[in-house]
Amino acid sequence: MSYQPIKFYQTGTFTVGNRLLAPEERSVQASSKRFNSINSGHRACQGCGEALGARYAIDAAMEATHGQLIAANATGCLEVFSTPYPETSWQIPWIHSLFGNTAAVATGIAAALKIKQKKNPQAQEIRVVAQGGDGGTTDIGFGCLSGMFERNDDVLYICYDNGGYMNTGVQRSSATPPAARTATTMAVGPEPGNAFGQGKFVPAIAMAHEIPYVATATVADLRDLEAKVRRAMEFRGARYIHILVPCPLGWGTQSSETIKMARLAKETGIFPVFEAEHGELKSALAIRRQLPVEEYLKPQKRYAHLFGKQPNVAVIAKLQALADRNIRKYKLLETV
């Protein structure tokens, strides 16, 4: 028999941790000493993907910077549920900003820190992240974000994409996927739900700015997410990470299915998980068990209108075509 490598740990690195792995080989989230940057008692819905994604990302950034981190936060779900004044869930230096100017606020902090560093070169260096939802990033804050990219300011911008304005009652954003029902894109008329051919995919726009680092991630692939945050912190200049965070409220899914939905988005090719450096695609997280898009669409009430007595096969086929295009474009069925 050929030699069988024994470096096999039952769940490998699919799970958060593993008792058989050395502590340094486990994820940040597996550690009982993790920062818990966003603490218990926040008012996010049951099974909130954004609360989870934010803790994953910011804990990883805290780990990478040894706790020397300042976060600027856009208005949105994340701020509303974490920080109703005078109370906060954040256990890191954290600053509130308006809906649209987070990137600019973070740029300012980075500039101030640069001056402080110049005046006192011995001081421990402090890094900056900016974070917001898809509304604050792809719509309202887009001008400031593009400016931050274009000037290559030393900020990691993290967008938590749940595909809409969820805490104000699930309105459409430019990150809402086609055919999805929201309060402003009702499932009525000949083309129900959000229109095809509109909206934007900001990771691709960030890549067009040729900034040092752009990545996408989901809450279903923790190891990948943490590695990307760590990698991002190795660069200077503007960096952008776009994390898919399912929203049980806005998507109409069971609160227990948050991670499953993110996994299905990735496995169907609906949401491509990749990283790019200086405008060029570097790698993609390969699809492990490819599935048709129906598997992803069906559990979500926002797509329920596609699955009535007469399934809307034409629209489903169009969504499948988008997934297939992602698979082709980002090489999701091969390891780059």
Binding site: M1, Q10, T15, Q29, S40, Q46, T88, S256
Partner: protein, 540 residues
Amino acid sequence: MDKPFAITLDPGSSLANRTGSWRTYKPVYLDRLPPCNATCPAGENIQGWLFHAESGDYEAAWRSLTENNPLPAIMGRVCYHPCEGACNRQYVDSAVGINSIERFLGDEAIKRNWQFVKPTTQSGKRVLVVGAGPSGLSAAYHLARLGHTVEIHEAGPYAGGMMRFGIPKYRLPREVIEAEVQRIVNLGVSIKLNTKVSNIEASMQAGKFDAAFLAVGAHIGKRAYIPAGTAAKVVDAISVLRSMEGEEKPMLGRRVVVYGGGNTAIDVARSVKRMGAEPIIVYRRTRDKAPAHDFEIEEALQEGVMVKWLSTIKQAEEGEIVIEKMALDDKGFPQPTGEFETLAADSVVLALGQDVDLGLLDGVPGLEVKDGTVQVGPNMMTGHAGIFAGGDMVPSERTVTVGVGHGKKAARHIDAWLKGETYAPPPKHELAGIEKLNTWYYSEAPHVVRPTLDILRRQSSFDEVVQGLDEGNALFEARRCLSCGNCFECDNCYGVCPDNAVIKLGPGKRFEFNYDYCKGCGVCVAECPCGAIKMVPEEN
């Protein structure tokens, strides 16, 4: 406090919000019963010992295994492993090779001379075990561990029972039996060989025994009426297998017809093949209806054993037999067709099942014998108080593993009976079916196939056919275990909680929920790979 510019209130922590009050369902940790454990006739905690094997702590794994079964090296060779048939991993890729890991642990224990821990106190009670087969050895082991003085009376010249006289060497080398029996003797069990118990009550009185466990097995070959000429050689399978153990090998001639379709028939055919004969199995039904395990039939066919399916023996004469072709009727029963065939045969071996020698029970009041087997209650006790029975002599599936299970069960009841109590088994956990698992999290890892001896050596020698695993692939195979229903500390619940409401208690201590903040979303339940959490409704 002097507050900074524009600050009027102290920052408060969200920990003041006890978001646990939102909950209508709450997650709770539980242990579910893995399907392997549920099906093991010996009642092994398979997931439990694999857990230790996964970390490479083979001694702990072996100690955990032998809590229930003292014969892992034997079991790892001869058990028909129903556990693997139930293993949830078969729905992922293929079942975990539990049997091969068990054998590895058993062999490792022999190699490293691991011994059982002796009991700290003695009860002063004496128990007589009749028969040193798997059931008797198992009962003796468990009784000795419970502090009782145990004596085994064995009629034969060696310990092992059917494991020695019924299972050929190529499946179970004799050194393995010796080693595992010796370890039980080292625990303090005494075995008297060549000591046939002809009257159980007399033997118990003579030895001042407080209780007895009977496990004499079933080793009288069943006969069937076959019109035979005076010169025809007709023998039974068990005596053939038994004579393989002695110096004088049975004289069966070149062409040996084995009549029957069970495992014993296969064992005889494969054994005589190794002695240079040409065995032909004659069986009245078809291969899929044969009681022998299919892999054994397959191995026999590979080795060149011939089989006549759908045939019965009508007559045996010197040098030849007449067989009649059968056909299955619509109920699946074989019916004669009137079509005959003559086969050259130097001898006929009958492998038609075995009966129990019940001589030792003559005159014992209260005993019930039905269909040639001793009837026992759910506590393995016969109708006579203090006399228990198990193994092949009671109604059951006759395998080594079932025998070992009977021995354990009887030992627990005997122990309770000696104390004037009744043994109540702990309630069983709910089953961890595949639907309780989230198999996404398990790495792809194909089953390790045990190497087998090359075919030429299998046809000519009694060397062991199936080889063992080495440390590397045993560890790999152990780590294929999904740990169904039992937490293996993967940290998933701790990691995936959006509310930090899972407390990690440290290595070996698992986790706890912080119900002050758990909102009851159920993500931990959905993402637990092994199904060790469930949601239950809140009471109010």
